[in-house]
């Protein structure tokens, strides 16, 4: 049992991080203090807006400098470090076993045509090959803040109230299958993908071996990591419309597909046949923030970030959605949303396997 919450201002209004922390604290009961985390989009709006912001956990040990140099050696192979600094933290709240460091980074022009793949390679390289360093986020104008601790501890530790963003996701963890460590907390991030997840992907073995075929390396052995890679594969590489990508994660039942008109039946059958390994089986509710450029079923291409929430197809994990003006929320519990925003225009329970999507108002 974990707690998730996320919201997005569809006007891209900036909202202080303390709001998301308030909501997450309300979901404390769903975690056990073994991991909490936040991601904010739009938090680096000034001169580093167009840089990749690497948030990296480096072991707080005598080898710290050595590890840092190793990280920088990898980064410098493909581009320039524009600025780097320790992520400001509050002392005395959490035992600082890692030092969170951030790099604002530009990819060399010669890799311009495959910039994102380069970033993915860098992340995989650091996480795979540098003992003592772990990338927790690698997108532009966003950052993940996570650690082992209760929601309010982690918020305070990272001084989350010093950041403003138009989209926030957060997660209170109750670890089950892997041990608690900072990197294992949510959100999981790759490029501008961020995922928070409640439940367990019971099909993990199948999913992992599926994404591995496409060159992703699942290093963390947690199911949420694999969700991130599946989304990257389906939406960024294979360019599936978002609605259909959600359909591969939580597909219609065959009995439902059989009843569709022919053209749709073919489409959904093809989807299940081709992406059988991407189906997420078992109980899950996820909230996801995406990069720009996503395709939709009507052919539109979204040039901004999208947020969506989704549950498994037989609804084994809770998810509530709500709206207040330009704000769209998803959360494990309604009370967490009301903690942030007591008066809501609308509250509803999304159908199992049907995404709730928030897009920037144009």
């Amino acid at each position: 049992m974990c707690g998730i919450i996320g919201f997005m201002s569809r006007k891209k209004k900036m909202i202080n991080g303390e709001k998301i922390a308030l909501g997450l604290c309300s979901l404390k009961e769903r975690g056990n203090g073994k991991g909490s985390g936040y991601v904010g989009y739009g938090i680096y709006p000034t001169k580093y807006k167009d840089c990749y912001a690497f948030h990296i956990l480096i072991d707080n040990c005598p080898k710290f400098e050595k590890i840092k140099v190793a990280v920088e050696n990898i980064l410098e192979q493909y581009g320039t470090i524009v600025k780097d600094e320790e992520i400001p933290t509050e002392e005395g709240i959490i035992k600082k076993v890692h030092i969170p460091w951030r790099y604002f980074y530009e990819v060399d022009e010669k890799f311009a045509d495959k910039e994102e793949d380069v970033i993915v390679d860098i992340v995989m390289d650091i996480n795979d090959n540098i003992d003592g360093a772990y990338v927790i986020s690698s997108g532009k104008d966003l950052g993940v803040f996570k650690a082992v601790g209760w929601p309010e501890e982690v918020a305070e530790f990272y001084r989350i109230d010093k950041y403003e963003g138009y989209l926030w996701l957060a997660h209170a963890r109750y670890p089950t299958n892997t041990k608690a460590w900072w990197g294992g907390a949510h959100p999981f991030n790759l490029l501008n993908w961020s995922v928070v997840h409640n439940g367990e992907i019971t099909s993990y073995g199948t999913n992992r071996r599926f994404v591995e075929m496409f060159g992703y390396k699942c290093r963390l052995l947690t199911d949420t990591e694999v969700v991130t890679y599946i989304l990257d594969l389906l939406l960024r590489k294979h360019k599936l419309p978002l609605e259909l990508a959600c359909q591969t994660l939580a597909p219609k039942f065959w009995s439902e597909i059989d009843d569709l008109p022919e053209e749709e039946r073919e489409l959904y059958t093809a989807l299940r046949l081709t992406y059988a390994g991407a189906m997420l089986n078992g109980p899950f509710a996820i909230a996801v923030a995406t990069p720009a450029g996503l395709l939709f079923m009507n052919g539109e291409i979204e040039d901004d970030t999208v947020m969506f929430g989704l549950t498994d197809r037989i609804k084994l994990r809770p998810l509530v959605a709500a709206e207040k003006d330009d704000l769209l929320f998803v959360s494990s519990e309604e009370s967490a949303i009301r903690r942030i925003c007591p008066n809501l225009d609308r509250v509803w329970m999304p159908d199992a396997g049907e995404p709730v999507i928030a897009r920037v108002w144009k």
């Binding site: 609804k315 809770p318 509530v320 309604e334 009301r338 903690r339 329970m349």
Partner: protein, 257 residues
């Protein structure tokens, strides 16, 4: 004191529930507890046995409201999270809003009234024994797997919106899957395809009408729909009941034969 008011603002559920227990203990003539600013506190009413007690909740109570409760009445002015009425033994829960998944989970007695919609697997494994017949009355709609494994009791779905108007076609799937006791009454038409394993559509008889009359009446009283009572009761109803008491009796091969 007959009425006690508690402001639950920013209160942890353990503190709140402790206060409720204390209030009951200290006030033998207590009739009503009013809880204000409730937001996400779980287990309210858990195991309470005081039959003449009413708890009024303003806000959004957390999950497992009234779990194991045996006697009191809880009235919620707001929405509920998951599993209100979980394994409830007796008493009433009246919700002036929606409620989440597994509403009335494993309920064995008493009544739950929800003015709005309920989530997935509501009424799952409700069961009846002798005079204990649990009842779940839903004003709006229910998500899939309504009355799953149902072993007894009744579920009534009125299928009306906030104004009391008909909501039209019923969407739920896998209704009554695994049902082997009790009955589900849904106002409106159900396609056989919407039923789960072991569930069947049975004729809706005079006896069935009598069976739900009081529940519909009570619902209308609680939610100010007295004028709608007759038109709701005398509508097209679909009754869903088990094909057999032992739908899975023939599943196994005996060791020797």
């Amino acid at each position: 004191m007959e009425v006690i008011e508690i402001d639950a603002k920013n209160m942890h559920y353990r503190e709140l529930n402790e206060k409720i227990h204390q209030a009951i203990k200290e006030n033998p003539d207590l009739k009503k507890i009013i809880l204000r600013n409730v937001l996400g506190q779980r287990f309210i009413g858990n195991s309470l046995r005081k039959k003449d007690l009413t708890i009024e909740i303003y806000g959004t109570p957390g999950g497992d409201l009234g779990m194991f409760m045996s006697g009191p009445t809880i009235i919620v002015y707001g929405n509920c999270e998951f599993a209100p009425g979980n394994t409830m033994d007796d008493g009433k829960i009246i919700i002036h809003g929606n409620s989440g998944d597994v509403t009335a989970h494993s309920m064995r007695g008493g009544k739950v009234f929800v003015r709005g919609d309920v989530g997935y697997r509501s009424g799952i494994h409700m069961k009846a024994y002798k005079e204990k017949v649990p009842t779940l009355v839903i004003g709006g709609t229910a998500k899939d797997f309504l009355g799953e494994y149902m072993a007894g009791g009744k579920i009534v779905v009125l299928n009306i919106d906030k104004e009391g108007k008909d909501l039209g076609k019923i969407k739920g799937k896998m209704i009554g899957t695994g049902i082997h006791g009790g009955a589900i009454y849904i106002r409106g038409e159900i396609n056989k395809k919407q039923l789960g394993v072991a569930a069947d559509i049975k004729p809706f008889t005079e006896e069935d009408l009598k069976n739900i009359e009081n529940d519909v009446k009570e619902f209308c009283q609680y939610f100010g729909l007295e004028d709608k009572f007759e038109s709701l009761l005398y509508s097209k109803w679909t009754k869903i009941a088990p094909i057999s008491k032992r739908p899975f009796g023939k599943l196994y091969t005996p060791d020797l034969f």
